[in-house]
Protein backbone atom coordinates (compact mmCIF):
# COMPACT_ATOMS: atom_id res chain seq x y z
CA UNK A 1 0.00 0.00 0.00
CA UNK A 2 1.35 3.45 -0.95
CA UNK A 3 0.79 6.68 0.96
CA UNK A 4 0.65 9.77 -1.23
CA UNK A 5 1.03 13.39 -0.18
CA UNK A 6 -0.83 15.23 -2.92
CA UNK A 7 -0.12 18.98 -3.02
CA UNK A 8 -0.58 19.38 0.71
CA UNK A 9 -0.72 22.96 1.95
CA UNK A 10 -1.64 24.04 5.43
CA UNK A 11 -1.90 27.25 7.37
CA UNK A 12 -2.63 27.97 11.02
CA UNK A 13 -4.51 31.26 10.81
CA UNK A 14 -2.20 33.67 9.02
CA UNK A 15 0.79 31.37 9.44
CA UNK A 16 1.51 29.40 6.29
CA UNK A 17 3.14 26.15 7.37
CA UNK A 18 3.18 23.87 4.31
CA UNK A 19 3.08 24.74 0.64
CA UNK A 20 2.10 22.16 -1.99
CA UNK A 21 4.08 19.24 -0.62
CA UNK A 22 3.84 16.14 -2.81
CA UNK A 23 5.63 12.81 -2.52
CA UNK A 24 4.86 9.12 -2.16
CA UNK A 25 5.81 6.58 0.46
CA UNK A 26 5.77 3.33 -1.48
CA UNK A 27 4.93 -0.04 0.05
CA UNK A 28 7.76 -1.16 2.29
CA UNK A 29 9.72 2.04 1.74
CA UNK A 30 11.08 4.24 4.52
CA UNK A 31 10.92 7.95 3.74
CA UNK A 32 12.53 10.35 6.18
CA UNK A 33 11.28 13.93 6.32
CA UNK A 34 13.89 16.43 7.45
CA UNK A 35 14.11 20.19 7.53
CA UNK A 36 14.78 23.15 9.80
CA UNK A 37 12.72 23.73 12.95
CA UNK A 38 9.22 24.94 12.23
CA UNK A 39 9.19 23.80 8.61
CA UNK A 40 6.01 21.79 9.17
CA UNK A 41 7.42 18.24 9.40
CA UNK A 42 5.14 17.16 12.24
CA UNK A 43 2.18 19.00 10.71
CA UNK A 44 2.79 17.10 7.47
CA UNK A 45 2.85 13.79 9.34
CA UNK A 46 -0.43 14.62 11.08
CA UNK A 47 -2.00 15.38 7.71
CA UNK A 48 -0.63 12.12 6.29
CA UNK A 49 -2.06 10.20 9.25
CA UNK A 50 -5.50 11.83 9.07
CA UNK A 51 -5.17 13.71 12.34
CA UNK A 52 -5.20 17.13 10.69
CA UNK A 53 -7.34 18.41 7.85
CA UNK A 54 -5.03 20.26 5.41
CA UNK A 55 -6.02 23.67 4.07
CA UNK A 56 -5.39 22.37 0.55
CA UNK A 57 -4.43 19.09 -1.05
CA UNK A 58 -4.88 15.71 0.54
CA UNK A 59 -3.26 12.53 1.75
CA UNK A 60 -4.23 9.44 -0.25
CA UNK A 61 -3.78 5.71 0.02
CA UNK A 62 -3.18 3.56 -3.04
CA UNK A 63 -3.55 -0.20 -3.04
CA UNK A 64 -4.94 -2.63 -0.51
CA UNK A 65 -3.55 -2.85 3.02
CA UNK A 66 -1.66 -6.04 3.88
CA UNK A 67 -3.81 -8.97 4.97
CA UNK A 68 -4.71 -8.75 8.64
CA UNK A 69 -3.78 -5.10 9.01
CA UNK A 70 -6.02 -3.53 11.66
CA UNK A 71 -4.76 0.02 11.20
CA UNK A 72 -2.78 0.59 7.99
CA UNK A 73 -1.49 4.03 9.06
CA UNK A 74 -0.13 3.85 12.60
CA UNK A 75 1.67 6.53 14.57
CA UNK A 76 4.68 6.17 16.84
CA UNK A 77 4.71 9.36 18.89
CA UNK A 78 7.61 11.47 20.08
CA UNK A 79 6.21 11.61 23.62
CA UNK A 80 5.16 7.93 23.50
CA UNK A 81 1.46 8.78 24.22
CA UNK A 82 1.04 5.90 26.65
CA UNK A 83 -1.97 5.67 28.93
CA UNK A 84 -0.40 6.11 32.38
CA UNK A 85 -3.23 4.20 34.10
CA UNK A 86 -2.66 1.11 31.95
CA UNK A 87 0.07 -1.49 32.25
CA UNK A 88 2.40 -2.22 29.34
CA UNK A 89 0.14 -5.09 28.29
CA UNK A 90 -3.01 -2.96 28.53
CA UNK A 91 -1.37 -0.20 26.50
CA UNK A 92 -0.51 -2.66 23.74
CA UNK A 93 -4.02 -4.09 23.95
CA UNK A 94 -5.66 -0.65 23.79
CA UNK A 95 -6.01 -0.38 19.98
CA UNK A 96 -7.21 -3.99 19.77
CA UNK A 97 -10.13 -3.80 22.18
CA UNK A 98 -12.61 -2.38 19.68
CA UNK A 99 -11.52 -4.68 16.85
CA UNK A 100 -13.14 -7.97 15.88
CA UNK A 101 -10.24 -10.02 17.26
CA UNK A 102 -11.26 -12.75 19.69
CA UNK A 103 -9.70 -12.99 23.14
CA UNK A 104 -7.21 -15.73 22.30
CA UNK A 105 -6.24 -14.09 19.02
CA UNK A 106 -5.79 -10.76 20.77
CA UNK A 107 -3.63 -12.41 23.40
CA UNK A 108 -1.44 -13.95 20.71
CA UNK A 109 -1.04 -10.58 18.97
CA UNK A 110 -0.07 -8.88 22.25
CA UNK A 111 2.38 -11.63 23.14
CA UNK A 112 3.98 -11.37 19.71
CA UNK A 113 4.29 -7.56 19.88
CA UNK A 114 5.77 -7.73 23.39
CA UNK A 115 8.22 -10.44 22.32
CA UNK A 116 9.35 -8.48 19.26
CA UNK A 117 10.07 -5.42 21.37
CA UNK A 118 11.64 -7.26 24.30
CA UNK A 119 8.89 -6.29 26.71
CA UNK A 120 7.60 -9.71 27.72
CA UNK A 121 9.06 -9.41 31.22
CA UNK A 122 7.60 -5.92 31.67
CA UNK A 123 4.00 -6.63 30.69
CA UNK A 124 2.65 -5.81 34.16
CA UNK A 125 4.67 -2.62 34.65
CA UNK A 126 3.14 0.84 34.47
CA UNK A 127 4.69 3.51 32.20
CA UNK A 128 5.98 5.50 35.18
CA UNK A 129 8.07 2.48 36.16
CA UNK A 130 9.84 2.38 32.78
CA UNK A 131 12.75 4.31 31.31
CA UNK A 132 12.19 6.53 28.28
CA UNK A 133 13.55 3.88 25.93
CA UNK A 134 11.28 1.20 27.35
CA UNK A 135 8.29 3.52 27.09
CA UNK A 136 9.01 4.08 23.43
CA UNK A 137 9.29 0.31 23.00
CA UNK A 138 5.75 0.08 24.40
CA UNK A 139 4.70 2.66 21.80
CA UNK A 140 6.34 0.55 19.10
CA UNK A 141 4.77 -2.67 20.42
CA UNK A 142 1.35 -0.99 20.37
CA UNK A 143 1.96 0.07 16.78
CA UNK A 144 3.12 -3.41 15.75
CA UNK A 145 0.06 -5.00 17.36
CA UNK A 146 -2.24 -3.51 14.70
CA UNK A 147 0.01 -4.78 11.86
CA UNK A 148 0.44 -1.44 10.09
CA UNK A 149 1.25 -1.01 6.43
CA UNK A 150 3.01 2.29 7.11
CA UNK A 151 4.40 3.59 10.38
CA UNK A 152 4.17 7.33 10.88
CA UNK A 153 7.00 8.16 13.24
CA UNK A 154 7.20 11.68 14.64
CA UNK A 155 10.72 12.10 16.02
CA UNK A 156 10.38 8.84 17.94
CA UNK A 157 13.90 9.02 19.36
CA UNK A 158 14.27 12.70 20.10
CA UNK A 159 13.16 12.43 23.74
CA UNK A 160 15.75 9.74 24.48
CA UNK A 161 19.40 9.78 25.49
CA UNK A 162 21.99 8.90 22.87
CA UNK A 163 22.64 5.35 24.03
CA UNK A 164 18.95 4.48 24.12
CA UNK A 165 18.54 6.17 20.74
CA UNK A 166 21.24 3.93 19.30
CA UNK A 167 19.60 0.80 20.70
CA UNK A 168 16.17 1.75 19.41
CA UNK A 169 17.60 2.68 16.02
CA UNK A 170 18.94 -0.88 15.81
CA UNK A 171 15.44 -2.10 16.69
CA UNK A 172 13.90 0.03 13.92
CA UNK A 173 16.41 -1.26 11.40
CA UNK A 174 15.50 -4.81 12.42
CA UNK A 175 11.72 -4.21 12.34
CA UNK A 176 11.83 -2.57 8.92
CA UNK A 177 14.34 -5.04 7.47
CA UNK A 178 11.89 -7.39 5.74
CA UNK A 179 10.08 -4.61 3.89
CA UNK A 180 6.65 -5.67 5.15
CA UNK A 181 6.13 -2.20 6.64
CA UNK A 182 6.86 1.19 5.18
CA UNK A 183 7.47 4.31 7.25
CA UNK A 184 7.34 8.07 7.10
CA UNK A 185 9.97 9.13 9.61
CA UNK A 186 10.10 12.74 10.76
CA UNK A 187 13.39 13.69 12.36
CA UNK A 188 15.79 16.51 13.08
CA UNK A 189 18.61 14.03 13.21
CA UNK A 190 20.28 13.59 9.82
CA UNK A 191 22.26 10.57 11.00
CA UNK A 192 19.00 8.78 11.84
CA UNK A 193 17.56 9.74 8.47
CA UNK A 194 20.60 8.46 6.59
CA UNK A 195 20.73 5.20 8.53
CA UNK A 196 17.05 4.32 8.23
CA UNK A 197 15.55 5.90 5.12
CA UNK A 198 15.43 4.74 1.54
CA UNK A 199 14.68 8.32 0.51
CA UNK A 200 14.94 11.59 2.38
CA UNK A 201 12.53 14.44 1.72
CA UNK A 202 14.20 17.74 2.58
CA UNK A 203 11.77 20.52 3.41
CA UNK A 204 12.56 24.21 3.24
CA UNK A 205 12.05 26.72 6.02
CA UNK A 206 8.43 27.78 6.63
CA UNK A 207 6.32 27.48 4.64
CA UNK A 208 7.66 23.98 4.11
CA UNK A 209 8.23 23.12 0.46
CA UNK A 210 10.15 20.16 -0.90
CA UNK A 211 13.69 21.36 -1.58
CA UNK A 212 15.09 18.03 -2.59
CA UNK A 213 14.46 14.30 -2.38
CA UNK A 214 17.67 12.40 -1.69
CA UNK A 215 17.88 8.66 -2.35
CA UNK A 216 20.26 6.53 -0.30
CA UNK A 217 22.05 4.31 -2.81
CA UNK A 218 22.44 1.24 -0.59
CA UNK A 219 20.29 -1.16 1.38
CA UNK A 220 19.90 -0.79 5.12
CA UNK A 221 21.86 -4.02 5.61
CA UNK A 222 24.76 -2.56 3.62
CA UNK A 223 24.78 0.56 5.75
CA UNK A 224 26.08 -1.40 8.74
CA UNK A 225 29.28 -2.12 6.84
CA UNK A 226 32.32 -0.13 7.96
CA UNK A 227 33.12 0.81 4.36
CA UNK A 228 29.70 2.39 3.91
CA UNK A 229 30.19 4.88 6.71
CA UNK A 230 32.23 7.31 4.64
CA UNK A 231 29.59 7.38 1.94
CA UNK A 232 26.77 7.85 4.45
CA UNK A 233 28.71 10.63 6.14
CA UNK A 234 29.10 12.36 2.78
CA UNK A 235 25.32 12.15 2.20
CA UNK A 236 24.75 13.45 5.72
CA UNK A 237 27.08 16.40 5.03
CA UNK A 238 25.30 17.14 1.77
CA UNK A 239 21.97 17.15 3.62
CA UNK A 240 23.38 19.44 6.29
CA UNK A 241 24.68 21.86 3.68
CA UNK A 242 21.14 21.93 2.24
CA UNK A 243 19.59 22.71 5.60
CA UNK A 244 22.26 24.66 7.47
CA UNK A 245 21.50 28.21 6.38
CA UNK A 246 17.78 27.74 6.83
CA UNK A 247 18.27 26.05 10.21
CA UNK A 248 20.23 29.13 11.36
CA UNK A 249 17.46 31.37 10.06
CA UNK A 250 14.79 29.24 11.75
CA UNK A 251 16.66 29.28 15.06
CA UNK A 252 16.99 33.09 14.97
CA UNK A 253 13.32 33.34 14.12
CA UNK A 254 12.40 31.20 17.11
CA UNK A 255 14.67 33.22 19.41
CA UNK A 256 13.21 36.44 18.07
CA UNK A 257 9.68 35.18 18.63
Amino acid sequence: MDLIADHISHRFGALEVLDKVSFTVRAGEVVAIVGPSGCGKSTLLQVLGGLLQPSQGQAELRGAPPAGSLNPLTFVFQDFALLPWCTVEQNVEFPLVHTALGTSERRAVIDDALRRTGLTDFRSAYPKQLSGGMRQRVGIARALAVRPAILLMDEPLSALDSQTRELLMEDFVGLLADGSMGAAYVTHNLEEAVRLADRIVVLSRRPGRIREVVSIPMTRAERGDINAREKLLAIQNDLWSLIREEAIGAEREVQHA
Partner: protein, 272 residues
Protein backbone atom coordinates in the same frame (compact mmCIF):
# COMPACT_ATOMS: atom_id res chain seq x y z
CA UNK B 1 47.57 11.54 35.68
CA UNK B 2 44.23 12.96 34.67
CA UNK B 3 42.66 12.39 38.07
CA UNK B 4 45.34 14.30 39.93
CA UNK B 5 45.07 17.98 40.67
CA UNK B 6 48.04 20.19 39.77
CA UNK B 7 50.78 20.14 42.42
CA UNK B 8 50.44 23.77 43.46
CA UNK B 9 46.72 23.38 44.32
CA UNK B 10 47.42 20.20 46.32
CA UNK B 11 49.61 22.25 48.63
CA UNK B 12 46.91 24.81 49.34
CA UNK B 13 44.51 24.39 52.28
CA UNK B 14 41.16 22.89 51.34
CA UNK B 15 37.71 23.52 52.75
CA UNK B 16 34.49 21.57 52.19
CA UNK B 17 31.88 22.99 49.83
CA UNK B 18 29.09 24.33 52.00
CA UNK B 19 25.81 22.42 51.66
CA UNK B 20 23.09 24.79 50.47
CA UNK B 21 20.48 22.46 49.00
CA UNK B 22 18.32 21.87 52.09
CA UNK B 23 14.74 22.85 52.90
CA UNK B 24 11.67 23.41 50.73
CA UNK B 25 10.70 19.74 51.08
CA UNK B 26 8.23 19.68 53.99
CA UNK B 27 6.81 16.31 54.90
CA UNK B 28 4.12 15.58 57.46
CA UNK B 29 5.56 13.62 60.37
CA UNK B 30 3.64 10.48 61.30
CA UNK B 31 3.44 11.25 65.00
CA UNK B 32 3.92 15.00 65.32
CA UNK B 33 0.32 15.79 64.37
CA UNK B 34 -1.10 13.34 66.90
CA UNK B 35 1.22 14.57 69.65
CA UNK B 36 0.18 18.18 68.96
CA UNK B 37 -3.51 17.21 69.03
CA UNK B 38 -3.13 15.31 72.30
CA UNK B 39 -1.23 18.23 73.84
CA UNK B 40 -3.94 20.72 72.87
CA UNK B 41 -6.69 18.47 74.25
CA UNK B 42 -4.69 17.91 77.44
CA UNK B 43 -4.16 21.66 77.86
CA UNK B 44 -7.86 22.28 77.19
CA UNK B 45 -8.80 19.64 79.77
CA UNK B 46 -6.39 21.15 82.27
CA UNK B 47 -7.82 24.62 81.71
CA UNK B 48 -11.34 23.30 82.31
CA UNK B 49 -10.47 21.16 85.34
CA UNK B 50 -8.43 23.91 86.97
CA UNK B 51 -11.23 26.41 86.47
CA UNK B 52 -9.14 28.70 84.24
CA UNK B 53 -12.06 28.92 81.82
CA UNK B 54 -15.79 28.92 82.49
CA UNK B 55 -17.17 25.48 81.55
CA UNK B 56 -20.38 27.16 80.36
CA UNK B 57 -18.46 28.86 77.56
CA UNK B 58 -15.85 26.16 76.91
CA UNK B 59 -16.65 22.79 78.47
CA UNK B 60 -13.64 20.47 78.89
CA UNK B 61 -13.11 17.57 76.45
CA UNK B 62 -14.22 15.07 79.11
CA UNK B 63 -17.62 16.78 79.34
CA UNK B 64 -17.97 16.61 75.54
CA UNK B 65 -17.12 12.89 75.57
CA UNK B 66 -19.75 12.33 78.27
CA UNK B 67 -22.29 14.33 76.24
CA UNK B 68 -21.58 12.20 73.15
CA UNK B 69 -21.86 9.02 75.23
CA UNK B 70 -25.23 10.10 76.66
CA UNK B 71 -26.47 11.08 73.19
CA UNK B 72 -25.43 7.69 71.88
CA UNK B 73 -27.12 5.88 74.76
CA UNK B 74 -30.38 7.81 74.36
CA UNK B 75 -30.47 7.13 70.61
CA UNK B 76 -30.57 10.87 69.85
CA UNK B 77 -27.12 10.78 68.28
CA UNK B 78 -28.15 8.24 65.67
CA UNK B 79 -31.49 9.99 65.10
CA UNK B 80 -29.84 13.33 64.32
CA UNK B 81 -26.97 11.77 62.44
CA UNK B 82 -29.19 9.58 60.28
CA UNK B 83 -31.25 12.59 59.14
CA UNK B 84 -28.09 14.51 58.27
CA UNK B 85 -26.59 11.52 56.44
CA UNK B 86 -29.82 11.00 54.50
CA UNK B 87 -29.86 14.66 53.41
CA UNK B 88 -26.16 14.79 52.58
CA UNK B 89 -26.26 11.45 50.79
CA UNK B 90 -29.32 12.28 48.68
CA UNK B 91 -28.17 15.82 47.86
CA UNK B 92 -24.61 14.76 47.12
CA UNK B 93 -25.61 11.88 44.87
CA UNK B 94 -28.13 14.00 42.93
CA UNK B 95 -25.72 16.92 42.58
CA UNK B 96 -22.84 14.65 41.63
CA UNK B 97 -24.78 12.76 38.95
CA UNK B 98 -26.02 16.01 37.41
CA UNK B 99 -22.58 17.64 37.77
CA UNK B 100 -20.76 14.73 36.12
CA UNK B 101 -23.22 14.66 33.19
CA UNK B 102 -23.11 18.43 32.68
CA UNK B 103 -19.32 18.53 33.26
CA UNK B 104 -18.71 15.90 30.59
CA UNK B 105 -21.13 17.70 28.27
CA UNK B 106 -19.27 20.98 28.72
CA UNK B 107 -15.93 19.21 28.39
CA UNK B 108 -16.81 17.38 25.19
CA UNK B 109 -19.36 19.46 23.27
CA UNK B 110 -18.83 22.90 21.78
CA UNK B 111 -22.53 23.75 22.06
CA UNK B 112 -22.79 22.55 25.67
CA UNK B 113 -19.60 24.45 26.52
CA UNK B 114 -20.91 27.70 25.09
CA UNK B 115 -24.18 27.46 26.98
CA UNK B 116 -22.96 25.61 30.09
CA UNK B 117 -20.00 27.79 31.01
CA UNK B 118 -22.13 30.93 30.81
CA UNK B 119 -24.69 29.53 33.22
CA UNK B 120 -22.16 27.92 35.54
CA UNK B 121 -20.10 31.14 35.73
CA UNK B 122 -23.23 33.18 36.49
CA UNK B 123 -24.75 30.84 39.06
CA UNK B 124 -21.71 29.30 40.77
CA UNK B 125 -20.86 32.35 42.95
CA UNK B 126 -24.38 32.51 44.48
CA UNK B 127 -24.32 31.21 48.07
CA UNK B 128 -26.65 28.25 47.67
CA UNK B 129 -28.08 28.57 51.16
CA UNK B 130 -29.57 31.90 50.03
CA UNK B 131 -31.75 29.90 47.66
CA UNK B 132 -33.28 27.79 50.43
CA UNK B 133 -36.26 30.11 51.05
CA UNK B 134 -36.99 30.12 47.32
CA UNK B 135 -36.66 26.35 47.18
CA UNK B 136 -39.06 26.06 50.15
CA UNK B 137 -41.56 28.14 48.17
CA UNK B 138 -41.12 25.90 45.14
CA UNK B 139 -40.84 22.51 46.81
CA UNK B 140 -42.73 23.00 50.08
CA UNK B 141 -41.66 22.46 53.68
CA UNK B 142 -40.00 19.12 53.97
CA UNK B 143 -36.83 17.38 52.95
CA UNK B 144 -36.90 18.38 49.30
CA UNK B 145 -35.68 22.00 49.63
CA UNK B 146 -32.81 20.96 51.96
CA UNK B 147 -31.74 18.17 49.63
CA UNK B 148 -32.10 20.48 46.61
CA UNK B 149 -29.90 23.11 48.31
CA UNK B 150 -27.17 20.53 48.92
CA UNK B 151 -27.55 19.14 45.40
CA UNK B 152 -27.19 22.63 43.90
CA UNK B 153 -24.05 23.33 45.91
CA UNK B 154 -22.55 19.98 44.93
CA UNK B 155 -23.63 20.27 41.29
CA UNK B 156 -21.69 23.42 40.42
CA UNK B 157 -18.42 22.34 42.04
CA UNK B 158 -18.71 18.89 40.48
CA UNK B 159 -19.48 20.25 37.01
CA UNK B 160 -16.47 22.59 37.22
CA UNK B 161 -14.08 19.89 38.44
CA UNK B 162 -15.33 17.45 35.78
CA UNK B 163 -14.95 19.78 32.81
CA UNK B 164 -11.62 21.04 34.15
CA UNK B 165 -10.55 17.41 34.40
CA UNK B 166 -11.72 16.67 30.86
CA UNK B 167 -9.83 19.75 29.64
CA UNK B 168 -6.71 18.56 31.45
CA UNK B 169 -6.61 15.17 29.71
CA UNK B 170 -3.51 15.38 27.48
CA UNK B 171 -4.66 15.92 23.90
CA UNK B 172 -1.89 13.65 22.66
CA UNK B 173 -3.62 10.69 24.33
CA UNK B 174 -6.88 11.53 22.56
CA UNK B 175 -5.06 11.94 19.23
CA UNK B 176 -3.31 8.63 19.85
CA UNK B 177 -6.66 6.91 20.38
CA UNK B 178 -8.08 8.57 17.26
CA UNK B 179 -5.04 7.45 15.27
CA UNK B 180 -6.06 3.86 16.09
CA UNK B 181 -9.67 4.54 15.01
CA UNK B 182 -10.92 3.99 18.57
CA UNK B 183 -14.62 4.94 18.63
CA UNK B 184 -15.76 8.10 20.42
CA UNK B 185 -17.52 6.30 23.29
CA UNK B 186 -14.46 4.16 23.88
CA UNK B 187 -12.20 7.24 23.94
CA UNK B 188 -14.49 8.79 26.53
CA UNK B 189 -14.57 5.64 28.65
CA UNK B 190 -10.97 4.51 28.31
CA UNK B 191 -9.04 7.78 27.90
CA UNK B 192 -11.03 10.80 29.05
CA UNK B 193 -12.74 9.29 32.10
CA UNK B 194 -9.56 7.89 33.70
CA UNK B 195 -7.62 10.99 32.64
CA UNK B 196 -10.16 13.29 34.29
CA UNK B 197 -10.53 11.13 37.39
CA UNK B 198 -7.83 12.89 39.49
CA UNK B 199 -9.66 16.20 39.03
CA UNK B 200 -13.06 14.58 39.63
CA UNK B 201 -11.90 13.00 42.89
CA UNK B 202 -10.34 16.30 43.97
CA UNK B 203 -13.78 17.79 43.25
CA UNK B 204 -15.42 15.13 45.45
CA UNK B 205 -13.26 16.30 48.33
CA UNK B 206 -14.55 19.85 47.84
CA UNK B 207 -18.18 18.81 47.33
CA UNK B 208 -18.12 16.67 50.48
CA UNK B 209 -17.19 19.81 52.46
CA UNK B 210 -19.79 21.88 50.59
CA UNK B 211 -22.46 19.27 51.34
CA UNK B 212 -21.54 19.23 55.04
CA UNK B 213 -21.62 23.02 55.22
CA UNK B 214 -24.98 23.22 53.46
CA UNK B 215 -26.65 20.44 55.45
CA UNK B 216 -25.76 22.15 58.72
CA UNK B 217 -26.94 25.54 57.41
CA UNK B 218 -30.17 24.10 56.02
CA UNK B 219 -30.90 22.17 59.21
CA UNK B 220 -30.31 25.30 61.28
CA UNK B 221 -32.84 27.18 59.18
CA UNK B 222 -35.63 24.66 59.14
CA UNK B 223 -35.34 21.18 60.60
CA UNK B 224 -36.35 19.33 63.74
CA UNK B 225 -33.72 16.61 63.40
CA UNK B 226 -30.19 16.65 62.10
CA UNK B 227 -26.80 17.63 63.49
CA UNK B 228 -27.29 21.27 62.42
CA UNK B 229 -30.65 21.46 64.19
CA UNK B 230 -29.18 19.73 67.24
CA UNK B 231 -26.28 22.20 67.46
CA UNK B 232 -28.65 25.16 67.13
CA UNK B 233 -31.00 23.82 69.82
CA UNK B 234 -28.07 23.14 72.16
CA UNK B 235 -26.81 26.68 71.60
CA UNK B 236 -30.23 28.17 72.32
CA UNK B 237 -30.39 26.21 75.59
CA UNK B 238 -26.78 27.11 76.53
CA UNK B 239 -25.92 23.40 76.54
CA UNK B 240 -22.42 24.04 75.31
CA UNK B 241 -21.21 20.49 76.02
CA UNK B 242 -23.89 19.18 73.66
CA UNK B 243 -23.20 21.98 71.17
CA UNK B 244 -19.54 21.01 71.05
CA UNK B 245 -20.51 17.32 70.92
CA UNK B 246 -22.38 18.17 67.72
CA UNK B 247 -19.33 20.02 66.39
CA UNK B 248 -17.08 17.06 67.20
CA UNK B 249 -19.50 14.70 65.45
CA UNK B 250 -19.42 16.94 62.37
CA UNK B 251 -15.64 16.99 62.49
CA UNK B 252 -15.48 13.19 62.76
CA UNK B 253 -18.01 12.88 59.92
CA UNK B 254 -15.84 15.15 57.74
CA UNK B 255 -12.74 13.14 58.62
CA UNK B 256 -14.44 9.84 57.77
CA UNK B 257 -15.59 11.19 54.39
CA UNK B 258 -12.08 12.55 53.74
CA UNK B 259 -10.57 9.15 54.59
CA UNK B 260 -13.08 7.49 52.27
CA UNK B 261 -12.01 9.76 49.42
CA UNK B 262 -8.34 9.06 50.25
CA UNK B 263 -9.11 5.35 50.00
CA UNK B 264 -10.87 5.89 46.69
CA UNK B 265 -7.88 7.86 45.37
CA UNK B 266 -5.46 5.18 46.50
CA UNK B 267 -7.48 2.48 44.73
CA UNK B 268 -8.37 4.36 41.56
CA UNK B 269 -5.25 6.50 41.08
CA UNK B 270 -2.61 3.95 42.06
CA UNK B 271 -0.94 4.52 38.69
CA UNK B 272 0.15 8.08 39.56
Amino acid sequence: MLDRAPRETQDEATRPVAFRGGGFTPSAGRTSGWIALILVIALWQLAGSAGWVNALFLPPPSAIVVAIYKLALSGALWQHLSWSIMRIGSGWILGTIAGVIVGFGVGLSTLARGVGITFISALFPIPKIALLPLLILWLGIGEEPKIATIALGVFFSTAISVYSGVDAVPRNLIRMAQSFNVPFHSIVRRVIWPGALPSILAGFRITASVALLLVVSAEMIGAQYGIGAFVLQAGNLMQTDQLLAGVVILSVFGLVVGKGINLLETRLLHWR
